[in-house]
Structures are given as C-alpha cells and as structure tokens.
C-alpha cells in the first residue's frame, strides 16, 4: 500500500465508524436540544454531526471538484460525486430527512476508488515483476576482492563475475567457468542452456550452477536486457484503437450524461406541472437525476482496457514474444495473411548433410573419406561434411590435397585417391556419376576412379515449422505465403512439405518488398492485416513495410529490433502462432470488458432514471463492475498454456 492508500483507508474506516455511531444517536437527544435552546437547534446539531462526517470522507472530492471548475474542467467524476452528494444533502435538509444517503454514497465511492487503486496497483506490480529482468548490480574483482558495482559504470571489456543465482547483467563472452543458464525470462524456454568458456551469453539470463567470469562486449544500455526492457516499457505508449476509442468516448460521454441528468431533473416535473396538472415532485426527480449521475462514472471501462493490453504484453514478453505496442497486439489479432521469409525463418539457414545415396560403401566410410579430403577447406559445404563426420580429423592420413577451383577437391586419404566435388569434377576425372532427384547441393565422391555415391547437403526445415503453419491456420490465419531468394525447385519442395498456400521464389531483396506490397494491396478490408516474419537479416525493409513486422531470433541484431513491431527472442516459428493466439485472447477480453461495463452501466442508468435503483446500488454496481473488469483484464497475463 502506498502512503496515499493508507491515509485513505483510515479516512474510510473513521467516517464509516462515525456514520454507524450516529445511527445509535437517539432522536430524543436532538429534540431535547430543541426544548432547551431554541427551535431547530436539534436539527442543526444533527446536521452538523453528519456534515463533519461528510467532510471527513469527501473533502478532497469537493476540493477537486472546485478546482476542476476553476480550471475549466467541469465534467469530471469528482464534479459528478460532489453534485450528487451535495444535492442529496440539500434534499435531506429541506425535508429534514436522512443525511445518511449522501455520506454513504461518498463512502462507497471512496471505498470503490480505494479498491480500484489497490487492485490496479497490485496488478501493475505483478505484471512489472513478470518483466523484471533488470540486473541491479555487477560483480567486479578489484584488488583481489569482489565488489558490487552499478552495471551502468562497467566499461566494455571488463571481466565481471556472475555467481549462481545471479542475473547476467551485461552481454559478454565467458572467459572462465562452466554453468547452465536459465533463459526463461528472455525466451520463455524452460530448458536451461549449457554454457562454457568461449560461449556468448546475453544479459537477463539467470546463472544456475557454476561461477562464470564474463568479459563484457557491450555497455549496459546496449545489452539485451536493457534493450528488451526499453522495448516493453515503451510498449503501452503506442495506443491501440480500442484505447483511443475509450479516451474519445469518455470525452463525449461525460457531458452527454450530465445533459441527460439535467433533462431528467427538469423535464418530468415541468411536464407533471404544466401538462398533466399533477404535483411537480421536484425532490423525486432531482434525486433520480443525481442517482443517474453517480451511476454514469465510466471508470471500469477507462481502467480495464489499458490494463488488459498491458497484461497481454507482459504475459507475451514472458514467453519470449516482445510486442512494441498495444496497437500491434490489436493488429496481430486481425492477421489474415502471414508471409514468411524462408532461409533462417522456416528453415534453419545452416547446411546439413541430409542424405547419402548410391554409395557402394557404408555411409560412415564415405563421409569419413569426404571429410578428410575436405579437411583443408573452410567452405560452408566442407564444414557441414566435417560436422556430419563429427569425429576428430586425423591430418596424417591425408596427403596431396589439390583444390580444383569451381569443381572440388582431389586428395589421398589412407593411400586411396579420393575425389570430392560437383558433376564437373566427375566429368573431368572421367567418372560416371548418378544425378540426384532431391533438392539441395550434391557432392559426388569418387574413390580410386570409381563412383562411390553422392552426399546430399541441404538447408534443413526447422522441426517446428510444419506444426507452426498448421497452428497458424487453426488460429485463423487465412493465407500463408513464403518469399525466398532461393531456386524454385527448393522453394517448391519446402512449400509442399509445409503445406503453404503460396510461395514466390528467386526474389532479390527488393523484389520481396514489391511482393509484400502486392499482397498488401490484395487485402481489401481494414480488418485483415498482413504480418511478415523474418529473421531480421536483409529483410528490415519488408519488416517495416508489412502491417506487422515480426523479427525472430533477433536478439543482438539492432536493425531488426528497430524495424520490427514484434520481436521473438528465439527462432522458433511456433512463437508466431502463439503471438496470434495471445493477441486474440487479449482482444476477446478487451471486448468482453467493453460490453460488460457498458451493458451493466446502461441497465443501471435506465433503472436509475426510472427510480428503481437507489444511489447505494448504483455505487455497488459501479465498484463491482470495475473490480470484475480488472480481474478479467488480468487474465490476459495467463498465456503460458495458450
């Protein structure tokens, strides 16, 4: 509780107790005063007691209302409350009636406000904690002692020490130690990541098992944790349409309600008096008008909508989905077309041996020979063969390495003549080779002038890609499209494998923007958005051109983070589907809250105007709706199992 909240709570309790105490004040005591002093003395004393209580609970409201009028802002909720309660007081004085109502209404209102402030404060704290990856300090060794230092003061290249249980404060490279890191705050990934000397670590991870010495590679402000925090904290300043709607709505709503209340107070009595010839019943109608005013306060609506978005953004960030603004969360829920980049997004973007065909020898043998022959080359293809071999390469077994540019390599391994390369090399050496019907890069292997088979190397589709496309369809995305610079043969294979709706191949980076624009033009309605998912390399222009740009696995690539509207901290395409599900859930809750708050309000307003509900019920309804709406908004945060 803040100091303000404590003070308010005390005021609520004191005035509540006083009000209860006054109920036990016998009427005789006041009429006794009448006899003793002067007529009306008892009535004045009674009023004075109630009035003090009224001031205890409501003085700040009256003050704010007065200030509002002075500052030219007449129709706010303080004004409504002041008018309603002063009006009720006036009616009570006039009729020598019940002062309890005015005080009780003020009391309920203040209790409601207090609950709201408490609930919102609590929710806000919960969500903020969820996103709390800000490291408070860094350990540095100075003169043989480990001291805690403000991470902002650490210079690039300093060696910092991270003990088990501590957050990595700054991005860097491990220079000493071994440990597993919990990255869940950054990526939502629950499996710990093993790390040891030479590995890069990003800030925000929690060190779990061993002491690590890390040489920093970035300043604190440029580190991943700071970047993520900046991104998420600025998120709610980009307002969604729903939020703007609420602001505009409140601006029209309050004056409209005040006008209606005035009409309610004046028109029926005049009609009664002049047309129907009945008694005017001013008191009744003014009271109804005041009730109408009390009910009208739009707090539930105004508070729950931004809270829903904030909770949704907070929950998503916990899952490794960083959304730059509520407007993007809203747009995401309307995604009709999802466009993917191929390499690095749907596929892993690294080359792997995916098959060995037509070989006479054992698979392992062919790889072993090829890996040895290629041992001197640093070409990505040779690397992938060496990786597939996986064992140590014994250089003493290799001799006479000869690289034939654009064709391949000829070398002696274990005394046998090994030729590794493309079809040109095979032709050149007079070896008959067999072509492959698979897509990818084909490496033929010849041993002692005989064909020994070929190794197929291709970019591998990510294991979750297919599932992700299916999940997107299920989440309501109508069309999935792939753009790639790769050959049409490769594109067809990938598109068929993943069951994509459309694909465009052999595109230059500029063509990708053009294609995206074409696709954008095809989206006829406002409510179907186009999202582009890329890995942030070379596709920054497309990321910013699409309605929603999603960069994946982009931690560390500043350009992509700048250009994208949504950043996925790892490169799992399933996260894209999850982001859409989160946005849909969030928007559902927002709509529920709008409908619920407005619906209950409308019912109460009608009941109040008809004189069926009193002020008590009105306030109860108001606080109740607000609390339910806030609780409902908090559901946006629960996205783990979505």
């Amino acid at each position: 509780m803040t100091r303000k909240q404590k003070k308010m709570l005390i005021r609520i309790i004191v005035s509540g107790a006083l009000l209860a105490g006054l109920q036990f004040l016998p009427n005789e005591a006041l009429s006794f005063l009448d006899d003793k002093l002067f007529p009306y003395a008892g009535r004045i004393a009674g009023f004075a007691l109630y009035f003090v209580d009224y001031l205890i609970i409501g003085h700040d409201i009256l003050r704010k209302a007065a200030k509002g009028i002075v500052n030219g802002r007449v129709f706010d909720e303080n004004f409504l409350m002041a008018i309603a309660t002063i009006g009720a007081m006036a009616i009570a004085i006039y009729e020598n009636g019940d002062y309890v109502e005015a005080i009780a209404v003020m009391l309920f209102y203040q209790t409601g406000e207090w609950l709201q402030s408490y609930a919102v404060g609590k929710s806000r704290k919960n969500i903020s904690e969820l996103m709390d990856i800000r490291p408070d300090y860094a350990n540095v060794e100075r003169d043989g002692e480990v001291v805690q230092v403000d991470p902002e003061k650490i210079e690039i290249g300093t060696v910092i020490i991270v003990r088990p249980g501590e957050k990595v404060p700054i991005d860097g490279i491990v220079v000493e130690g071994k440990s597993s890191l919990n990255t869940s705050a950054l990526t939502g990934e629950s499996l710990p990541r093993e790390t040891s000397e030479g590995d890069e670590v990003i800030s925000g991870c929690i060190n779990m098992t061993g002491v690590l010495k890390i040489k920093t590679t970035k300043a604190f402000g440029e580190s991943t944790a700071s970047k993520i925090l900046e991104l998420v904290e600025n998120a709610s300043s980009r307002k969604s349409k729903s939020e703007n709607f609420i602001s505009k709505f409140a601006r029209i709503y309050t004056p409209a309600v005040c006008g209606s209340a005035l009409a309610l107070a004046v028109i029926p009595p005049i009609v009664n008096l002049l047309i129907l010839g009945n008694a005017a019943e001013w008191g009744t109608w003014i009271y109804r008008a005041l009730t109408f005013l009390v009910i009208s306060c739009p707090c539930a609506l105004v508070i729950s909508i931004p809270l829903s978005f904030f909770a949704g953004i907070g929950g998503a960030s916990r899952e490794g989905i960083l959304i730059k603004g509520s407007n993007y969360l809203e747009a995401l829920s309307k995604t009709a077309t999802m466009v993917f980049d191929k390499t690095g997004t749907l596929t892993q973007g690294v080359f792997e041996v995916s098959g060995i065909h037509h070989n006479e020898l054992e698979d392992k043998m062919i790889i072993e020979y090829a890996a040895h022959a290629e041992s001197a080359s640093s070409h990505p293809i040779s690397k992938s063969i060496q990786k597939a071999y996986g064992k140590h390469i014994d250089l003493s077994r290799v001799s006479d390495i000869q690289e034939i540019s654009g064709e391949g390599i000829v070398a002696k391994v274990d005394g046998r003549n090994i030729a590794v390369g493309n079809d040109k090399l095979m032709k050149h050496l007079g070896i008959t080779h067999i072509d492959c019907h698979h897509t990818g890069t084909i490496i033929h292997v010849g041993i002692d002038g005989e064909y020994a088979g070929h190794i197929l190397i291709s970019d591998v589709i990510k294991p979750t890609s297919k599932e992700a496309i299916a999940a997107l369809k299920k989440a309501g995305v109508k069309k999935t499209v792939m753009l790639t610079g790769d050959s049409s043969r490769v594109a067809t294979a990938v598109a068929e494998e993943l069951e994509l709706d459309e694909y465009y191949s052999e595109l230059l980076p500029g063509d990708k923007v053009k294609k995206t624009e074409e696709l954008l033009a095809r989206n006829e309605s406002e409510n179907s958005k186009l999202a582009f998912v890329g890995d942030g390399i070379n596709d920054a222009p497309v990321l910013s051109r699409a309605d929603i740009g999603i960069a994946m696995g982009a931690m560390g690539s500043d350009a992509a983070i700048e250009a994208a509207d949504i950043v996925l901290t790892d490169d799992d395409p399933l996260k894209a589907a999850k982001a859409i599900r989160i946005s849909k859930k969030c928007m559902r809750i927002v709509r529920q809250n709008i409908a619920f708050a407005l619906g209950v309000k409308a019912i109460c307003l009608v009941l109040g105007a008809l004189g069926i509900t009193g002020m008590y019920i009105a306030i109860f309804a108001d606080v109740g709706v607000m609390l339910i709406a806030v609780l409902n908004a908090m559901r946006c945060m629960l996205v783990k199992r979505l």
């Binding site: 803040t2 303000k4 700040d60 003050r63 704010k64 200030k67 500052n71 802002r73 406000e113 709201q116 402030s117 919102v120 806000r124 969500i127 903020s128 904290e233 600025n234 709610s236 300043s237 602001s247 409140a250 707090c299 105004v302 508070i303 909508i305 931004p306 809270l307 904030f310």
Partner: protein, 72 residues
Amino acid sequence: MKKVYKVEVDCANCANLMEIASNKVEGIANANINFMTQKMGVEFEEGADEKKVMKAVLKACRKVEPDCEIEI
C-alpha cells in the same frame, strides 16, 4: 534531449489528461505518460531549460489531476 521521470498517478484516464496537458507546455517536443509503468518520457525542445519546463509541466498536470506527483 530525452528524459524519463517517475510519476504517480492513480487512474488511467488522469494519465491521459496529464499527457495532453504536458504536450501543450512550452519547451516540450513530445511527452508521453505510461500509466502502467508510472513513467513519463519527455523530449525537450532544443535549448529548453529542463528544470523550468518540468515545473511548468507539473503545474499543468496538477490542473487536470491535483493528486499527481512527478519526481523532477
């Protein structure tokens, strides 16, 4: 020049009103209040005296929400 200030404001609508009021203050290029994080991001116009401007901002905010607080 950009700066971030801590604010204390109780309702989302009040924060909106404060934001609107702040943006009208002379010397402010852009101000936004984030109700959820209770922070105010301020971009000053070039050559503006930030202390003076922030005092004016506080005054303008107090007009729309007497209870608010800005840590200058």
